[in-house]
């Protein structure tokens, strides 16, 4: 044993990360499910086109010079009076519906993603603190969460939006509309993260690997970030994906109700609201196509979230 202790031993080489990922179960379970692959394709097209909007969209709906009021409320290409210039028709201001959808998705996604990221950070942090510290801190955080949960998300968003609108001067309201939206959607979503993370933290913190870290002398802060966090993040990823769909929908609802993004900066919800006014006059495409687009986006993101939940839960395999 003694000479063994002194013998120099070469450390082995590490496996490349990519190889390890490609060998993984996650990819395998993905390829096995055609619904998931389909959802991924749809999500990729919708999200990809939104990100690459300036290059993909046939027109720039924000460029007032290129918008011609003469072309207002043209029908889609396959109807009488439609043209290839405006595949899905034009809206009441003569903007290309397809282009406004692509640009609108961009805003919807931006609000949704930022809101979910904010909710995730807030929720995970509060959940970890509650679960780790216990006592009065835990009680307070979880009571606030309970209260929050008993209000529907839309109501909370309307409340925050209303407060922001009354407190802020009129001229900045349009500019900051998007931030107000992000904060309200985030605040109505953090509870899911906090509850789940607190639950997992309560389970994990009593496990012996946490105690082992304490015996080693690891700082509490590093135990929480290094040991606890990675072990409570599994469900968080799933919640984040499903919450992205909810957040986009909440944003759309708020914009539809007129408390979200203004028509000069339209998200999918705004587009549906604007189009709604023209439904009666027969110009159904202005509202319908953004609606379909939104539904496809929500559905595909939800399906991906479901797959992720099943794939990450070993018990369901």
């Amino acid at each position: 044993m003694a000479e063994l202790a002194r013998a120099p031993i070469a450390a082995p080489r590490r496996l490349p990360r990519l190889r390890r990922f490609l060998d993984g179960d996650l990819l395998w379970s993905f390829r096995r499910s055609p619904v998931t692959v389909g959802a991924a394709v749809v999500a990729f097209v919708i999200i990809g086109s939104a990100i690459a909007a300036p290059w993909v969209a046939p027109h720039n709906p924000y460029d007032l010079a290129s918008v011609n009021l003469m072309d207002a409320t043209d029908p889609p290409v396959w109807l009488h009076g439609g043209s290839w210039a405006y595949v899905l028709g034009t809206d009441n201001q003569g903007r290309d519906v397809l282009s406004t959808i692509i640009y609108g998705t961009r805003l919807s996604l931006l609000v949704g993603v930022l809101a979910v990221v904010a909710a995730l950070i807030l929720g995970v942090a509060l959940g970890l603190v509650a679960g780790w510290s216990g006592g009065i801190v835990e009680t307070m955080i979880m009571r606030v969460a309970d209260v929050q949960l008993s209000f529907p998300a839309i109501l909370i968003a309307l409340l925050i939006d209303g407060v922001a609108r009354t407190m802020l001067p009129h001229n900045v309201q349009a500019e900051i509309a998007i931030y107000v939206l992000i904060v309200s959607v985030a605040l109505s979503n953090w509870v899911h993260f906090a509850r789940t993370v607190r639950g997992s933290t309560l389970v994990e913190r009593n496990k012996e690997y946490i105690q082992a870290a304490r015996v080693i002398g690891v700082r509490p802060w590093r135990i929480v970030t290094g040991h606890l966090l990675p072990n409570v993040l599994g469900p968080v990823l799933v919640i984040a994906t499903i919450n992205l769909a909810t957040a986009i929908l909440t944003e759309a609802t708020l914009s539809f109700l007129g408390v979200g993004l203004p028509p000069t900066q339209p998200s999918l919800g705004t587009l549906i609201r604007v189009g709604n006014d023209y439904l009666m006059s027969g110009d159904w495409w202005i509202a319908l196509f953004p609606g379909i687009w939104l539904a496809l986006l929500i559905l595909s993101v939800n399906l991906l979230g479901d797959w992720l939940r099943d794939a990450l839960n070993p018990k369901l395999r």
């Binding site: 070469a10 450390a11 082995p12 012996e208 080693i216 002398g217 690891v218 040991h227 990675p230 072990n231």
Partner: protein
């Protein structure tokens, strides 16, 4: 009491757990507060280089002693001296951590004691990183590889996750992690009781080898007397949060003094190849009393064949008898002479060859 060669000294250690009902329930239903006296005055010393074993039935407070020692629990009362330094006085991180590095712990459950999301390399390197024991990353990898080889795993195992290993292999990883801090004192809380009988011997042998190679002092906790007999130099027998007997291992197995120790040794599972499960069976007949409401006097009296009126009223303290420390009125009064045992029906008392020859692992 203070022996110069003592590395660890525990004096009158107490640890109570508050298990009272919630305040509202206490108020409405007039329920009293309740405490589990997991440790109710435990004193012993561990000498440098020796393996001190704690035995006793499940729930008697063995793990609580271990957890108080390594700082996972704060003692309710009493003193723990490590190398002459009072651990309770170490409130500041800067002074506590260097001392804590010198004592490490191996846990019972090899499936829960390793972070499932970390690679073995990172797990084993954690003490190195925490205490700044290595400089470069290459140096760290080399040290981890060395540790893995010392516990008879391969350096390539560092790339794997804990779930890729068996229970025995995981316990080796735990041992490697504990050794990484270069401790002087190792607390092993039932390190083999979650393992298959066939694997237990391998792990015990590994630990014995490593202990002599690194001159470790060990506190070895087990409910399995056969395992204790294999590894320990001295043994403390616990019953309901108190030590009832402390003796050198050889003496304890050859001439147990306390009636509870005798009972434990009598019921050691014999080596019996047909009945492999014997090692798992309840070692002692009778109920273990509730530590929330322990019996008055000697806590063992409801199960003790030698109990009398004094035993039911007065709690015995540890006193020296026949070279051991025993807490028993009958032994102190001479009612129960150690010599009487050799002629009695206690098979555990038939001399050294008896238990060693017959013990099953």
């Amino acid at each position: 009491m203070a022996e110069p060669q003592a590395l660890v000294e525990i004096r009158d250690l107490k640890r109570y757990f508050d298990v009272s009902p919630p305040p509202l329930e206490r108020l409405l239903q007039r329920k009293p507060r309740a405490w589990v006296k997991a440790l109710d005055g435990v004193s012993f010393t561990i000498r440098r280089g020796e393996t001190f074993a704690l035995v006793g039935e499940s729930g008697c407070g063995k793990s609580t002693v271990a957890r108080c020692l390594v700082g996972l629990y704060r003692p309710s009362a009493g003193k723990i001296l490590f190398d002459g330094i009072d651990l309770a006085g170490l409130n500041r991180r800067k002074t506590a951590v260097p001392l804590r590095r010198r004592m490490q712990m191996i846990f019972q459950d090899p499936y829960a004691s390793l972070n499932p999301r970390w690679r073995v390399r990172r797990i084993v390197a954690e003490p190195l990183v925490t205490h700044g024991l290595v400089g470069s990353r290459a140096e760290r990898d080399a040290r981890v590889a060395e540790l893995l080889v010392q516990v008879r795993l391969s350096p390539e195992d560092g790339d794997k996750f804990p779930h890729e290993f068996s229970g025995g292999q995981r316990q080796r990883i735990s041992i490697a992690r504990a050794l990484a801090a270069r401790p002087e004192f190792l607390v092993c809380d039932e390190p083999t009781s979650a393992l298959d009988v066939s694997v237990q011997a391998q792990i015990l042998n590994l630990m014995k080898d490593l202990q002599s190679a690194f001159r470790l002092t060990c506190l070895f906790i087990s409910h399995n007397l056969a395992v204790v007999y294999q590894v320990s130099d001295r043994v403390g027998v616990m019953y309901l949060g108190r030590l009832v007997e402390i003796a050198a291992a050889e003496q304890l197995f050859a001439r147990p003094l306390h009636p509870y120790t005798r009972l434990l040794i009598d019921t050691i599972p014999r080596l019996d190849p047909v009945d492999g499960a014997a090692a798992e069976r309840e070692p002692v007949a009778g109920e273990v009393p509730n530590p929330i409401d322990p019996p008055p006097g000697c806590a063992f009296h409801p199960r003790c064949p030698f109990a009398d009126a004094r035993c039911r009223a007065e709690r015995p303290e540890l006193i020296e008898a026949d070279g051991a420390l025993v807490a028993c009125h009958a032994v102190a009064e001479g009612r129960l002479a150690p010599a009487a045992l050799t002629t009695s029906s206690h098979p555990g008392a038939t001399g050294r060859a008896g238990p060693s020859g017959k013990l099953a692992l």
